[in-house]
Each structure stands twice: as structure tokens, then as C-alpha cells.
Symmetry: C2
Subunit: 564 residues, 2 copies
């Protein structure tokens, strides 16, 4: 009998870290544990005076590994006699991002020093931190003027959520942290460095995924943005460039091997390979079985869309995408990232905010049940899903939601269904953008709570797009993707797999239930979609006479002024 081998995935989220132990032979998830970060509010350091601020304490990550891994091992031991921790052959890591933190020359986070413990700027700048919004605008403007190629790979706008915006903001507002920071690392860089002992910021293997999607790193222009460009933003940013990195790595590469100390702490074999880190959505796509022609949707409060395209085949820049990065998902493939700024958040908004009596338990289920009884178009309603702006294809945060077709008989479940349909039309707009530029989509694999729990949403997505909607087998695709990376860096000889394709074939899968388009409904949606596009283009673009592009902008300008 063949002895089962396992890989460990570590998934660093916004509020917690998850450890997942997976059988590399069949993808069985034999042990899992979650550790909720103890710092701040649900793991997020906040500032009551600045709603843009959101930080994370790197000490929470360390404590999280120390707690969650032994718990996952315990669970695996209880579950299966075949499991022994010595048979864990590799570790993979996925994290949120861009979540950079300042480190000293040795790679130790400043936040771990006593003098910086209480300074949020010395902690990790969580992905959802927006304190650098002015700097983001400045970076976008300079890049548009001098290096439009930088923007072409990241959707045309450099975000306040990203690496350089945050560092530039720190340089300008906290000289003490700025001076003490020898370098900055992403959470996705830091964790593998920590576990392998290769924490030196100049020697550690940096994440291609993080660098490419958030730091404008691209081999086409020699890696990071030009020193002259960064120096123009701030001379210290230009200097910092020399203390960052010239090379980046995909997650099929080992960042190093597990140190004796960590092996002991976690009861693992010392020396097992630890993969270079990637972002959660990207390894989530791997755990969902991403491959050419397959579109992975990670549906949550917002949605992240991932697909891949062979690097060897020509692909023009696709306008409006969040990012196009070689190897950010799978080595040898361009990782293409798109997204919708709000999906579950819109449904939650309707239930939690609009219901004047306050949200009731079961509201979603009741509305879904009633909405499911409606036919497409029966309500006469149509919505734009821009309650949190539009990430892809318009890349415009200053857009807002719209609802048209209201009558005195309009019912809540009709609005609820219309909001679901609007997010489906948003999804179709993204898929069509991919296809216009030659990236043909064959099927869609969905993951996340909504995909698993709301068949109505999935059926509407199938009916609107005319594509099959599949659901990833795993309920924790990000951690599974990380474990797959762990199996790959172990290699077949080490008990794992040699390639992502092999590892995915063995470890990832989809569920039996497939949502197939209903032809009758699809036909109605083919009539409704052009109306959605009419509103989309009228309110979202400036391109034609009589455009209503000004309406949402003017309303927001008046709103901002009236709230001051």
C-alpha cells in the first residue's frame, strides 16, 4: 500500500489565518484549523479619526501559525489513521495583498520592536487601507504622463490599496518609521521568509504575484518602476528601490526549506520545502482548477475573477483589467485578474440597510425564495451594480448604483433579484471583455460562500452568461491552492508533484452539481443585457453625445461638499 503524503496550506486572511492539511494523492482535506487574530477589531487595527486606516499586527500571523498548524495536525490525527505529520512534504502560503510592512535590515518587522509596537505605521498596511489615496492619484498621474506602460498592466489606475501608495504615504507622514524601515516586504514575502529563515530582504525570494499585481513589477521594463520615476515621486522612494528586489518568483519555486526551530514548534519534518507566496485569490484560482479557457470567480462581498493565458501566446493589453502578470497564478501563464467591487455586499446592503425595520434572520433566504419564483424580466426592473464603484471594465470608484423600472407595485424580492441580475450582467461584461481580446472562456468555476449556498445566484449567472457554472469542490480553495503549491515545491521525488497541472489534477476538483443555462431564460437575458450595456455606457463612459457620465460624478461632488 502506498503511504499517503500531505501538503500544508497556510491562508492568511483579513481576520484570521487558516491551516489546511491536504492529501496530495486525492485532495482529501484531512485537517483544518482557524486562528482569529487577537489584535484590534477582528484582527484589524483601526483609527477612530481616520476611516481609511486599516493595519494588521505581524505578531498575530506568527501566533496564528504556532496555534493553527498544531490544531490542524491534531484534527488530521483524529480523523485518519493514515496521517502522520512527518508525511507533510511541503508548505504553501497565500495571503491578502497588497499588505506591505516595514522591516529592518534583517527582515524583522518594525512592529515587533518595543518602540514601534504602538505605532500603526510600523505594522502591516492591510489591503483595505486607503490612507494613501492622495499618493495613489499622484502615482497614477505621473505614470500616465511618463510611463503609460506601467498602467496598461494594472487597469489604467494605480490604486490606494497598493504597495507604492502606502509606502509613499508613510514616507511623507511618519519620518521615524520611514527612517527605520530598511526595506518593505509584502505579507506574502514575509511568511515564507519567516518559515525558511531567509528573511533578509535582499536575499528572500519575493512573490511574483504581489510584485506584478501591486508594485508594477514587470520584466518588460526591467522589474520595478524606474528609479527616476520613483525619485520624482519622492527621492527616498527612489533610494528604497535599491533595497527592494530585482527578481521575483512564482509559487512553484521554493522560498527555502523549513527551519529546525519552526519544524520543532510545529512537529513537522525540518527541511521540507516552503513555496514562494502568492495572493489568496490567485492560489484560490489554482485550488479551483484554473486552466486555459476556465474563468474562476471567487464570489464574496466583492468578486475576484482569475484566468490564465499561455505566456507563449500573444495577448494584447486588455483594457480595464486589474492586472496582467506573468506567472502570478500558474508558472508559464499570464495571470489575468478582473473583479467586481461589490457583489455579496450589494445583497447585504439591501437586507441590512434598506429594510427600515432592521435586518431579520432569514431575510436573505426568504427574499431568495420569492425571487426564485420570478421570471427574468418579469419585474420590469434593471440595475447597475456600482454601489461600490466599478473595478472592471470601467476602473472607476466614483460610480454609483442605479435602479430603473420602479412602479408602485415593485416588490422587495423583485429588487433583490434585479440586484443579483445586475451582478450577473457585470460578470458578463467582464467575460465579454476577455473574449473581445481573444481570451475565449469555456466554463466558469465559482467558489466562496454565495456560490456554494445560493443556487439562485448560480442559475442566474448561468442564464445570463450562457455558460456553465461549476462550483469548486473545496470550500477553502485558497488554502487548498496554497497546499497545492506546497505539493509542487516538494516535487514528485519528495512525495508531492512536479507541476501545478499534475497537482491540480490530483488535488483540485469541481462538485457534481453544475448549473447549466436555461435556454428560455438566456434568450430573455440576451434582450435585457443590451439595456444594461446602454445604461453602463451612458453613465460609465464619456464616449458619445448625450452621455450621462456627468450625472453620478456631479451627484458625488455635491454630496462630498454637503457632507463637509
Amino acid at each position: 500500500m502506498k503511504i499517503a503524503k500531505f501538503a500544508l496550506g497556510l491562508d492568511f486572511g483579513t481576520n484570521s489565518v487558516r491551516a489546511l492539511i491536504v492529501d496530495v494523492g486525492n485532495g482529501d482535506e484531512v485537517g483544518t484549523a482557524i486562528f482569529a487574530y487577537p489584535s484590534g477589531a477582528a484582527g484589524i487595527l483601526l483609527d477612530p479619526k481616520d476611516s481609511n486606516l486599516a493595519r494588521q499586527n505581524p505578531a498575530d500571523w506568527i501566533l496564528g501559525i504556532e496555534t493553527a498548524v498544531p490544531e490542524a495536525i491534531d484534527e488530521a490525527k483524529k480523523k485518519g489513521r493514515a496521517f502522520v505529520p512527518e508525511n507533510i512534504v511541503g508548505i504553501g502560503v497565500d495571503t491578502t495583498g497588497s499588505t506591505p510592512l516595514p522591516v529592518d535590515r534583517a527582515g524583522k518587522p518594525l512592529a515587533l520592536y518595543k518602540e514601534f509596537k504602538k505605532n500603526p505605521n510600523a505594522h502591516a498596511w492591510l489591503w483595505k487601507d486607503h490612507t494613501g489615496h492622495a499618493e495613489a492619484a499622484e502615482i497614477t498621474a505621473l505614470a500616465a504622463a511618463e510611463h503609460s506602460e506601467y498602467l496598461a498592466k494594472c487597469g489604467g489606475t494605480y490604486s490606494s490599496e497598493w504597495f507604492w501608495s502606502k509606502i509613499l504615504h508613510c514616507l511623507r507622514t511618519d519620518p521615524k518609521v520611514a527612517a527605520a524601515a530598511y526595506s518593505w516586504v509584502e505579507c506574502a514575502d514575509y511568511i515564507p521568509g519567516l518559515l525558511t529563515g531567509v528573511a533578509d530582504p535582499l536575499r528572500m525570494k519575493r512573490s511574483r504575484c504581489a510584485a506584478g499585481h501591486k508594485a508594477m513589477f514587470n520584466d518588460r521594463w526591467g522589474g520595478l518602476p524606474a528609479k527616476a520615476f520613483l525619485s520624482k515621486l519622492d527621492p527616498r522612494l527612489g533610494e528604497l528601490r535599491d533595497r527592494l528586489y530585482q527578481k521575483t518568483y512564482t509559487s512553484d519555486i521554493a522560498a527555502g526549506s523549513l527551519t529546525k526551530e519552526w519544524a520543532k514548534k510545529l512537529s513537522l519534518r525540518p527541511g521540507i520545502a516552503v513555496a514562494v507566496g502568492s495572493f489568496d485569490a490567485h492560489l484560490g484560482a489554482v485550488g479551483s482548477g484554473v486552466e486555459t479557457g476556465r474563468f474562476v470567480k471567487i464570489i464574496g462581498t466583492s468578486t475576484c475573477d482569475i484566468c490564465v493565458w499561455p505566456t507563449s501566446k500573444k495577448l494584447p493589453d486588455v483594457p480595464g483589467l486589474c492586472g496582467i502578470v506573468d506567472g502570478s497564478v500558474l508558472p508559464g501563464y499570464l495571470g489575468l485578474e478582473a473583479g467586481q467591487s461589490a457583489v455579496g455586499d450589494i445583497f447585504n446592503w439591501f437586507v441590512n440597510e434598506i429594510e427600515p425595520g432592521g435586518p431579520k434572520k432569514g431575510s436573505h433566504a426568504a427574499l431568495t425564495r420569492k425571487a426564485a419564483a420570478l421570471k427574468p424580466g418579469e419585474s420590469g426592473l434593471l440595475a447597475l451594480d456600482w454601489h461600490n464603484g466599478n473595478r472592471t471594465v470601467l476602473v472607476d470608484q466614483r460610480l454609483t448604483g442605479l435602479l430603473v423600472g420602479l412602479t408602485l407595485r415593485t416588490r422587495p424580492e423583485e429588487i433583490y433579484r434585479t440586484l443579483i441580475e445586475a451582478t450577473a450582467f457585470g460578470a458578463l461584461t467582464i467575460i465579454r471583455r476577455f473574449e473581445e481580446f481573444g481570451v475565449k472562456i469555456r466554463d466558469v468555476v465559482n467558489c466562496g460562500g454565495i456560490a456554494e449556498k445560493n443556487p439562485l445566484v448560480m442559475q442566474i449567472y448561468a442564464d445570463v452568461t450562457g455558460l456553465e457554472m461549476k462550483i469548486a469542490r473545496s470550500a477553502q480553495t485558497c488554502a487548498l491552492g496554497a497546499a497545492i503549491a506546497g505539493a509542487v515545491v516538494a516535487g514528485r521525488k519528495g512525495g508531492g508533484h512536479d507541476t501545478f497541472a499534475e497537482a491540480q489534477a490530483a488535488m483540485a476538483g469541481i462538485r457534481k452539481k453544475i448549473y447549466r443555462p436555461n435556454g428560455v431564460n438566456h434568450k430573455v437575458y440576451l434582450e435585457l443585457y443590451p439595456l444594461y450595456r446602454e445604461l453602463h455606457d451612458a453613465f460609465g463612459t464619456k464616449e458619445w453625445t448625450g452621455s450621462l457620465f456627468n450625472v453620478m460624478k456631479d451627484l458625488l461632488a455635491i454630496k462630498d461638499r454637503q457632507r463637509r
Copy 2:
């Protein structure tokens, strides 16, 4: 001491009739009573198989007079020692409309005959009956082709709510009623005929207001539409024309004098004058003190706007108005009618329908309180108030409501305030249309429950329009207007007044509280209104490139098909 004289107003509504006794010297309302119609659902005969059908039983009107007048007299007796029913000097009548009913040669409603008692087609076709929608379209099309002048006076579209649509539908669907109907009379014609004993359809004094606004009656083309025109629609309609009327009368003219039988039944003096009938909104405007430069808004579930213009002064046809009829409000003045298809109905819809937990007592008050704390434009929201179509200035029932500017933080009270603002923008659009064509508006007098009870609505209307919002003193302006007509037909010699101007000066008035525009808020609304107009013109007109006129229509077409 001068002995007080009184006038009686009878106000025939949708669900009930009101009797009101008013002191002609000072407008004191000394006695009032309401009689709820016993037939059907709240006085409306419905057909579960046809939601367009809405009829009224004329027997309810008769019973209503017999019940409400003595009750009002009783109240007046109890209230003031000065009151004796013998001092009631005249009676005025206002009714809903167009509410026509078939009568026999003697003017007796067919519905009062045993054989027709259960046939809804033999009853009064209530204003909100839409069974003649196909016939309305046919009439509009034929008029557009052959007699565009007919349409120019009634807003460009002949409505399914009006006289000819209803009769034509009856001719085509109920030959028995069609054959038995010697003539058709409006409720506003029938009641004065009943009380004065001049019920003969060829001799009774028909209402100018009803004929002009609903039956395309205009002296310019010799009264009713041409026989050839009506015959083309149906030969029987052409024949009916000869059994209708050639002359119409304003409400300063007596339809006749109260019969002995009715006087006895009601304990009134026999022989007192009964005024020719008018519609509720038109006499409501009289009771609100309508005069040149004053815009009267009767705000309820929908809104009816009335103003007057001296017949002697030239006025072009104002496109989009519901009607322009000489003498329909005041003799010697053109009565100009406009309206908003839904006002209170939109606020009720939000509270009753959208709140998934069901409407709560006090929802309106709670939302109003929170909405009042917001500044104009602070929510970033904007709405179109077309939940029930647009009556003026677009005259298009196939339009729907729209809400834009939604975010994940949008709150119910923000939507509620935005809906109020949308109706205010709708009101401003109507006022501007009047002014564009030379009808200058000096102030606005509002009446109806919302005007009296919701200061926020009134303040927003003042801030949006930049005009003073006044409130009619009486809470029952329609019945008061009818009583004023009663005082006028009595004449000064008979204890009343010689003219409407004199009677209004004595009997009508406004309240102390006047809502004056807040300059700061008005400035913000001057910024928001152009955005409203942008949406209004984009979705409501076809006039420019990139018009979104198709969007609401296409959605409704798909909706209609999907509901079949």
C-alpha cells in the same frame, strides 16, 4: 345683527360623499358629515378577472345625500345657535370625473333598474376605470390623424379614464346596456339634475368642466367632437352625439332649484339654487383661493395642479398640460390643469412595499424625522418620480421610476427624502412649463393631507421651486369650493354672493404658516435640478442623440410579455 347665511357643498369622492355647511360670510365650516359608499369594496365595484374595471353604484350617491346632509345639519345645529337649516341659501356639487353613467330617456340611471342592477356596465364608470384603454388609443390615433386640435387642449393623448373611451368600450362589449342607454351623463351632471328634478338628458345643464376636460368639448369647434369623427369610431357613437348636449355651463350658473321632495327629505328650503356641477379638483382650487398667478396643488396619492388665466388674454396651447378649458374653474378664466401621476403613492410604496418586514405604524413619521435632518444633496441620490408614469409634461404612462447614486451606505431615510425631492422636481418642471408659455406663477397654495401634515414635504417644495408654499385654510377645499358655488348661485340677493371673487374673498383663505424658500438649500437644488432634467430628458424624450428613451419602454415590453 345680520343673520348668518350658509351654503351646502356636496363632494362626491371615490369612496364616500361629504356634506359641508359653510357660513357664507366668513367661511366657517359649521357642520360636516361623511357617508361611506356601501357597495363593492369601499364603494368601488371591482371585477376579480379584470383589474382595469372600477365602477360606482349611483344608488350609493342618493343614499349618501339622504344620510350625510341631515347629519351635517345636526352637527351644525349642535355647534352654533346661529344656524338654522332654512338659512342654507344654495347648494354646490363637485364630483370625481370622468365618471359617466348610462341613463334612460328620463335621465334615470340604468343601474337603478332591476334588470341592470347586477351589470357593472350599467353603473357609473368610475374615473379610475381603465377598461377602455384600447379604445382610448384608437381615439387618440384618429384625432391625431384628423383633428389634432382636439388633442391640443387635452395634453396630446386621449385617456382611457375619459368619457368617450368608456362609452365606446361599452358599445362594443355590452350591446344590451348600449341599446338601453338613451344618453350618458357625468356624475357631475347627474347630481344637480337629481336635486333639481331636471334630469332629462336633453334639458339638464351639463358641466362645462366635465365636458371640456373629458369629452373634448370646445366652442372653438362647435362643442362636442364632430359627428363624422365619432361615427368613424363607431356609428352608434355618432348617433349618441345627438342625444348628448350642445351647450355646457360653468358653476356660477344654477342647474335649477331644489325640488320640494328633496327639500323635505333634507329639511332644506325648497327652491334654493343648485349650482351646475364641476370636478373635485377644480372646485378644490376655488376653495383654495385660486386666482391669476396662483398655482393650486391638490396633493394626495397623486397631485392635481390647477391655475387660471383670463379668457380675454391670449394664451398659446401649453404642450403637456392635461387640459385647458374656458370656465372649468372660474367663469371668465381658462382653467389650466396639470398633474403628477404619483406623489403620496410613491412615499406609501416605499413604506408599504419595500420594507420587507411589512409596514409599521409610524414609519412615515420616523422616516420623515430622519430625512429632515439631512442636507440637500448629502445623500448623493437622485430619483425620477415616474412610478406611475408622467402625467405632465411628458404625458406618458409608460414611464417608470428611477433611483441613482446608490452606495453600500445608502440609508432608507435618504431614499425617502430623495423620493420627496423627486416629486418636488416634478412640480418645478410643471411650473417652469407654465412660465415658459407666459403663465407667471407668484405663489403656490397647497391642500390635501400631505400639505397639512408634512412640513418637510412643504419645505422641500419651497426650497426646490424657490416659491412660497402656502396651505389652504380649509381641510376640505373641494367641499368648500362646492359650497362657494352654492353661495354664488344663490346670489347676493338670495343671501349669497354675486361672483366667485366675492365668495372666495369671504369664504376661502390660507393658513398663517407659510413655507418660505431657504436660500442656501435653494442654491443646492438649483444644482441638482439640471441633473434631474438630464435624466428626465434622457429617459423621457427621444429628442437627442444617445437618448435612453427606449430603456423604460423595452423593459415594460419584456415585462408585459413575461407576465402573460
